[in-house]
């Protein structure tokens, strides 16, 4: 059994995300010959040179159209760690799929093509902006297609310099970012250092990913937060939920459920189908309480009385805008849907530059800082305090219109 680290790909379309994952799979012997041969067969059928991307892109629309439509994952083993590489589409109109993929990662691998006329694009920066906003703090930038610019140090340096400025501006810590010049297609600097780039003194890509991932601290010793899913098996003194922070012991005093405002004591805990004395971060638990819960606890938080979230109707949030912000707005928050009474937009940020711009004309794919008043109270905290209680998705009617991070 090994540690699994999820890494999301980022980057503009055609800068080589799927090709890179295909190459990594082959270089690390992580894919069967059947899959490789199948990808070869279809490359040939479409009169193309072998496309490693076809190992990932399985829909015929993806292969024939030469784009990734939806997310997929590929697992590789490196230094006894399993890396789950999440491939995402680079196209603007498929950004909801990209966000879905990125939400599972805490480290990102950004692809920027060094090829003439490609380089840093608006979408390159937008992906970085979204990733940082969603809480991804660790980043490896692969400057790709180095073979098309004669492995030029100058081309690499100019991309690194321009991107470093933007990365710092949107809040990454420089120590958590590394740059690697590669060719996904030729396999340069992926597993081993390339002979064609003797000027590059850093680590090959997989080593850079290994060193720059999996550093998130354990949350087991912090204040308890259990997101409740509901009552289990119709028993009102039995609730199910997931521990997102801290740990809980049988009989622990001073626990309460917010926003139901009731005090409870946990009489027994079941996790993984077994009776246990204590349960920890990541566990899906069934908790037998000392009393009945008469209101539906779905979306409520079980936590310690001494340090708990405050249920509130009014939240300040940064919203990445995907659809319209009018009509009947609602947020989805830990399994519940809550209507919005009002949304007041204070400012707008161009996500391709990081600059604050006027808030009159709100554009899709930009971010806004807003004050939202909800129809009922939710147990919210700031994203920096508890990630799971500081984020939501936003809907206009049934239409997905954005993601929000509570400040």
């Amino acid at each position: 059994m090994v540690e699994v680290r999820s890494i999301t790909m980022l980057g503009h379309k055609d800068h080589g995300k799927s090709t890179l994952i295909g190459s990594i799979l082959m270089l690390t012997n992580s894919v069967t010959n059947v899959r490789i041969n199948e990808a070869k067969k279809y490359s040939k059928k479409l009169h193309r040179d072998f496309e490693p991307a076809f190992i990932l892109d399985s829909f015929h629309e993806e292969r024939e159209g030469g784009l990734t439509i939806d997310i997929t994952r590929a697992e590789i083993l490196y230094n006894k760690v399993a890396f789950s590489l999440i491939d995402v589409p680079g196209h603007e109109e498929l950004i909801k799929n990209m966000i879905s993929g990125a939400s599972y990662a805490n480290t990102a691998l950004l692809l920027v093509s060094a090829k003439k006329d490609e380089g840093i694009r608006g979408q390159t920066k937008r992906h970085l902006f979204i990733a940082k906003m969603m809480g991804i703090d660790y980043l490896v930038v692969a400057v790709n297609k180095m073979d098309t610019v004669e492995y030029s140090k100058k081309a690499f340096d100019s991309i690194m310099d321009e991107l470093t400025e933007f990365i710092m501006k949107i809040g990454f810590d420089k120590r958590n970012v590394s740059f690697v010049p590669i060719s996904a297609y030729k396999g340069d600097n992926i597993l081993k250092k390339s002979r064609d780039m003797p000027w590059y003194r850093g680590k090959p890509l997989l080593e850079a990913i290994y060193e720059n991932s999996g550093k998130n601290a354990s949350k087991d010793d912090s204040a308890l937060r259990i997101v409740l899913q509901g009552v289990l098996n119709g028993r009102k003194n039995m609730v199910a939920g997931r521990i997102v922070r801290g740990h809980i012991k049988v009989g622990e005093k001073g626990t309460c459920i917010i926003p139901l405002d009731i005090n409870v004591t946990v009489k027994s805990i079941e996790a993984g189908g077994r009776r246990v004395r204590s349960a920890h971060v990541g566990d899906s638990v069934a908790l037998e309480l000392n009393r009945n819960v008469n209101k539906d606890p779905r979306g409520a938080i079980l936590c310690g009385e001494a340090y708990c979230p405050i249920a509130r109707k009014s939240i300040r949030a940064r919203v990445f805008v995907i659809g319209k912000l009018d009509g009947k707005l609602s947020i989805r928050f830990n399994g519940i849907e809550v209507g919005c009474n009002s949304i007041k937009i204070n400012s707008q940020i161009d996500t391709t530059t990081g600059e604050t711009i006027g808030s009159k004309n709100i554009k899709v794919l930009n971010a806004v800082d807003a004050e939202i008043v909800l129809e009922s109270k939710i147990p919210a905290e700031s994203f920096t305090e508890t990630r799971e209680l500081g984020r939501f998705t936003l809907y206009s009617g049934k239409e997905f219109s954005g993601i929000g991070i509570i400040g």
């Binding site: 090994v2 059947v34 190992i55 990541g282 899906s284």
Partner: protein, 262 residues
Amino acid sequence: MIKQNIKQLEERSIYILREANMKFKNVAALWSMGKDSTTMLALARKAFLGKIPFPVIHIDNGIDFPETYTFREQLAKKWKLNLIVANSEIKPDSIGSACCGRNKPDTLKKVMKENGFDALIVSIRRDEHGIRSKERYMSPRDEKFRWNYKDQPAELWDDYASKLDEGGHVRVHPLLDWSEIDIWSYIKQEKIPVNPLYFSRNGFRYRSLGCLHCTVPVKSNAKSVDDIVKELETTKIEERSGRSMDKEAEYTMQRLRSLGYM
């Protein structure tokens, strides 16, 4: 094959199973008596304190292996399953995708409609097939069972798809993250009963089970769960290499899935 952290997988699957049961009014699960859907049932027993709260459906075309039927009866009794056997027609001329693509989904459509199920738990895994790897944990299907794979709903931060259309349903995939070796490691750890066809007889075993017409065994000397886990650590052979429909025309799996195949 990479062995993941089974405890993490188990916790996530239990979470998804409970989420499905609390989110939807009328949930059912598909059970083929294979290793994956049987593992899913073992997880559901854990999620709901020993008793599975939803019916399990076997789409029975009458040509499953005799061992499979025996296994069905034994486990249904032992685990007190609310088993729905839905008889599916088998036409002599239809094999492979024509059979799996039409007859079985037609029967499933009927069962879903008769019982008013709005969510269906299906034990597919991402590592089985490139097309299955594109799935969400919860995925809406319309009344004709179509999968709108070009415009799947956003799925993040445990915000899963709700039922969208009248007559449609949501497919729930609690085992999406598991690999084949994870399943077998879990079967070993939890001592989950499995169909005897998975074990080697005369140098062959079934690695993926379909019905009599479309499944062939693969070369193997693995006679126990331990042997299977060891075999999978080094194998280079695809899991579904013994399933004929995977090898038919291009994009068969994509077409089948978009039409409602499980």
